[in-house]
Point group: C2
Chain length 395, copies 2
């Protein structure tokens, strides 16, 4: 129990304690923890300069023992009334602060781990062939995205222009979302040494929400044979808050049954880290999808083990995302290309029909997960408003 | 003319002046410029703390005017005998210093811009279909690689392990090279604002050599549909020296004729930046290929314009590489998969036949380009020795 008066139904209760980077007018960026509708200034509360660096990276690099120690300290401060007098003045209303990108992103990797999403795209783009490629059930497919264009929730989504086909240039006509969950690496690894599935919690600091904005027309023309590039690289939005892994113990579930026997390096059955998150996707305020993360075929420890099995090393700030989260039902798809079935079945919304995003559209993704003792763990939101492609000289 | 006594045929003459990061035992990393077989300590020579930061990034972020000013200063110091007494004590033999990764890599993008390379791979892997995909002549295809595993020349090449096919795991049996040329971004760009071809020299600082080590078996199994991932991410090696664009004016040539009319944003005909570099690839000391960079279909300004046309922004330290450089002749291919035609025609070398790399193999890539007044511009080398895959518990 905290001595704070928390709003009913907050996802930022005492069992969550997510980290972010905030500022107020005239002050530098520093670390905060969210509690209810307020933020606690950790630079002031701890006096530790690590929380005044303007990103979470330096703190994340201290490792799991330091993460655990601070979490225990925060819990004590916010529950023991003896600390109230010292801590309360360091709280600010969340509505009064500006949130920034919480991490300096090192490498950004995007997986493709939802079976339903991969099957839906296979059915649309490779009709008459098996919806999954032969490798899909053997390994978590992924590619590297552009780390330099990962930005915080609220960053405007400038409609990208590019090649829409041979000798066709213009603003994307098929701008889409991808509702995803991201995992943030705190502890680096040694070059040449794979990170086994059971070292997941020794390296991963926490979890955020991701919207991997996608221009389907750019992507379709460019992606054979080397994969997505400009169709994705203009912007990837992440939530302002990073939920510590320690807040997600009650959300852990076993992942779906496996189609094929996995190689030992991908066997996470001893301590599974499927997660019972439910995402909600809203377009101009209207709920359009509730993707169930627990149905993801590949878990985060499997993704991490795969991404390092060739000896590739991790850095503090690496971000790896799940890929679009889609469930089996038509109202559980994590992208508009699935929700509108490639534009053949537009969504009917209060604001009009939608297959892809129009200028001015606002997309907001939220999520919750079970917390200890019947509490709920919230992830805040990742949101963005589509702005028109800039006017340029004819290209 | 410099007052230094330079070795005959040096590629590091007074018209080159490449930058790198060096240290000596017990001293911190700092910036050097190479001249002949020596390095000049720029932290000491200039007294400017920007050259004591341990990477070139902070200096690169100052922009082209600062790059030009320092280059004029260096030329004066090294040519006017009046400066000899002050400068000579700040020179060290290159053989006595340790070189480090010259830049902190922000995002790493790898293009696919050699037509001969793309056609060779198409012929091998998609026989009976046109060797180039339909998009190839319309846009410079590229993908994002792993920035965190870009390392300096000389870093051991630990043979990667991974999935070689369904339920097959082990060290790569088809470890390969890719001889490439890399371009280093100094000046960032604004999100949402494309960088036109004629802004190339306002953003790009210099040029290095790249070996994009590739595990062909891992790559073949994983790469459909999202492109290369673990087949590349274990290591990318770069040369220790970054040659300033200003040293390459005499090497500029027009690129090959275009098959199709290009969209205006890719039209670089007003000021072409094809470059007459000749690469040399040596395997255990034996020359196996001389890839001609001037035959690259897509130039660096085109690559930069394409990579930003969707509004993706640049950061200081971004590295974009050409992709494997291959010429039309069989002794001009930039990869072993081409030189051995997918293993069907192994190379006959003094050390034995080679289709792919064996443990202990040493691969060294060098390059030269024409400089002003009949001089030659050298790029140093990018080299690496293959070491065995680590012994691990059975996976």
């Amino acid at each position: 129990m905290t001595w704070l008066d928390l709003p009913d139904g907050t996802g930022f209760g005492i069992t969550n304690l997510p980290y972010g980077i905030f500022s107020t007018p005239g002050t530098a960026r520093r670390t905060a923890v969210a509690i209810g509708d307020r933020v606690l200034d950790l630079a002031a509360a701890t006096g530790d300069p690590v929380h005044a660096t303007g990103t979470l990276n330096a703190f994340m690099a201290r490792g799991p023992a330091a993460w655990g120690a601070l979490r225990r300290q925060l819990t004590a401060w916010l529950t023991d009334p003896a600390h109230r007098a010292a801590i309360e003045p360091l709280l600010s209303p969340r509505a009064d602060v500006t949130m920034h990108l919480p991490i300096e992103v090192a490498d950004y990797v995007d997986f493709y781990s939802s079976r339903h999403h991969a099957e839906n795209l296979g059915r649309m783009f490779r009709p008459g062939t098996p919806p999954l490629t032969p490798n899909w059930t053997h390994l978590p497919i992924a590619y590297h995205g552009r780390a330099g264009t990962v930005r915080v929730s609220g960053t405007p989504v400038i409609r990208p222009a590019g090649q829409l086909g041979a000798a066709r240039f213009g603003p994307s006509e098929r701008l889409d979302i991808e509702a995803e969950v991201g995992f943030v690496v705190g502890m680096p690894s040694t070059p040449g040494e794979p990170v086994p599935v059971d070292a997941f919690t020794a390296h991963v600091f926490g979890v955020c929400l991701v919207n991997d904005w996608s221009a389907r027309d750019l992507q379709a023309w460019e992606y054979v044979p080397l994969g997505p590039f400009l169709g994705k690289s203009f912007l990837t939005s992440v939530s302002a808050w990073v939920v510590p892994l320690a807040a997600l113990e009650a959300a852990r579930v076993a992942p779906p049954a496996r189609d094929v026997e996995l190689l030992p390096y991908l066997d996470d059955s001893a301590a599974p880290w499927g997660l019972d998150l439910t995402l909600e996707v809203r377009l101009n305020g209207e709920l359009i999808s509730r993707p169930p993360f627990k149905q993801l075929y590949w878990t985060a420890p499997q993704q991490l083990a795969h991404l390092t099995v060739n000896g590739a090393s991790l850095r503090t700030g690496d971000l790896f995302a799940s890929g679009t989260v889609s469930g089996p039902a038509g109202d559980q798809y994590g992208s508009l290309i699935e929700l509108s079935w490639n534009g053949t079945a537009p969504l009917t919304l209060a604001g009009g029909a939608r297959s892809f995003l129009e200028d001015g559209d606002v997309v907001t993704i939220t999520a919750t997960a079970p917390g200890p003792g019947g509490t709920r763990i919230g992830f805040g939101e990742v949101t963005g408003t589509v702005t028109p492609a800039p006017r340029r000289a004819p290209a």
